[in-house]
Chain length 320, copies 2
């Protein structure tokens, strides 16, 4: 018997989740050798768990529809992760293979046949790549791709333009900033009244990760025909009283475009992204910063740090 | 000597303009026969003045830049209008010709050479058309074209979609609604909590003329990938304390597009608009409602009615 520490979704938070109240650490036992697998099932030993702001949106009443399914009360929390297969009743996976997909916030995850959603292409990459495996949860994963699609496809960034990025040290923001520099944009990555000094001629693109007051201020600094890439609004995830944005008149007078997007809609376009990122990384044009904690028992606190902006770099939990 | 009644911009209003305080009716004398015209100047006898919400934005401190120039304190207010030339020192205009462009809120307007900006194409149309001349200030003018460009180019309206229009009885809204019907959209033109009943499956397009709380409510009813055509925000024109829009998280979760636009940017694309509108009008598919007042002395009150939503149809002043 092995121990299987994990984090349970215990109650729906109204504001910031509280450890013990909404997320609870539990230790269960697991008999790996005799673990019963139905046809198509696999059992994973988890290696890396990605912590992402959108997970806060899954801590909601399951009656409310949104981007991703609500977490189930009493069950273990989920997230993007990398595991290795320790037992398999699925002909696609052999023991020792990498699995890239949704895993539990726990040391071992049983993935039933109908939930097996591993990304074969990325799993091959992970097994042969010399890069840290966790990079595939960030730079080459959802956050990196979010940065790439948001900047290029939604924002149509052009050389010589000025971009302002909120949460610029986060998983998405750090990649946005670097790609923008590679493309020859002028990059501003901090948020306060100093915008007038930093961008005396105004902002062409605002890559918005935080929403609320920062968005409100940015609206006043945007140029005519500027674009707001609405990627996330982390300042609004932990409140029932959202901030009221007052400067929307700029949308009309400056002919602004505000475009929301969800990276999940663009996964079929991943190839050029991965190719360019690999190239830039190899050439040293791109650097990648992770904020790594060890042990699944530290995931809840790391998640809270992420929600309060205390992380510097992509938040990842190294599980084993 | 003739009398020349007009309306002077007397002071900058903080909220709704007050007659006497911010707009003042004056009667001046004008000697038409001996009126001195410099080279290129013309003198107009005004026939129709268009009252449009954006004029409120021109009642501001001239230090603040915006779409259209600020009105000059102590000078007569301006607007789109139609006049006939009563005296000309400009080889383009003969006495009796129609003039279509900016005129004063007054009975006679002296247009100096450098301000002569008449639209030759429309002037020809007006002189030969059997339609009421005032239609060229609405249906065939700026508001009609705003509706057309907003719906087609910005909103990319498609058959079978559901559109919600605020200020649907106004100059722009009434045209939006009718074109949308011609194109086979399901049209909803009122604003309250009834949206859930009227659009149980949600809204694909919101044509926003009012902003503020109506925009906030609409955001909650939009479908995934819906579009907001940000045409105007009349609810916010008369306050220094704009409404705070709280439901912008929908922009991210529903991948919304919010696109502001100003019709002035699209005037080079007017031809297909005029052609289609003429056709639809002839076929009886399109009707047009004007809210017409007579006498320039009634312009200030009609403008206030427009700002408070009391008009039903395009607001026009018949001057003579």
């Amino acid at each position: 018997m092995a121990s299987n520490k994990g984090v349970i979704f215990k109650a729906i938070p109204d504001s910031f989740p509280v450890i013990g109240e909404h997320m609870e650490l539990v230790t269960r036992e697991i008999d790996i050798k005799n673990f019963p697998l139905a046809d198509g099932d696999i059992l994973l030993k988890n290696q890396y768990l990605s912590l992402d702001p959108y997970l806060r949106g899954r801590m909601r009443d399951s009656q409310i529809e949104s981007i991703a399914d609500a977490f189930k009360l009493g069950k273990v929390l989920e997230g993007h992760g990398i595991g290795t297969v320790v037992k398999s009743n699925n002909r696609k996976y052999q023991v020792g293979d990498y699995y890239y997909g949704f895993i539990g916030w726990e040391e071992y995850t049983h993935v039933p046949a109908d939930a097996v959603s591993g990304d074969e292409g990325l799993e091959k990459e992970i097994s042969k790549s010399e890069l840290p495996k966790s990079y595939f949860l960030g730079l080459f994963g959802m956050p990196g791709f979010t940065a790439y699609i948001g900047l290029n496809k939604i924002g149509k960034a052009k050389k010589g333009e000025t971009i302002f990025i909120s949460a610029a040290s986060g998983a998405v923001g750090q990649v946005v900033g670097q790609i923008a520099k590679i493309k020859g944009l002028c990059v501003i990555g901090s948020a306060d009244e100093e915008l007038t000094k930093l961008c005396p001629n105004g902002i062409d693109i605002y890559f918005d990760n935080v929403g609320g007051e920062t968005l409100d201020i940015a609206l006043n600094h945007l140029k005519i025909n500027a674009r707001v890439i609405a990627c996330g609004m982390i300042s609004q995830y932990n409140t029932k009283n959202p901030y009221g944005v007052k400067n929307l008149m700029n949308v009309v007078t400056k002919r602004l475009l505000i475009q929301g997007f969800i990276v999940f809609d663009h996964y079929h376009e991943m190839e050029p992204f991965q190719k360019e990122m690999r190239e830039w990384l190899k050439q040293g044009k791109l650097k990648y910063k992770e904020d790594l904690v060890e042990g699944i028992q530290n995931a809840p606190n790391a998640f809270l740090n992420l929600l309060t902006g205390k992380n510097f770099g992509k938040a990842v939990v190294k599980i084993c």
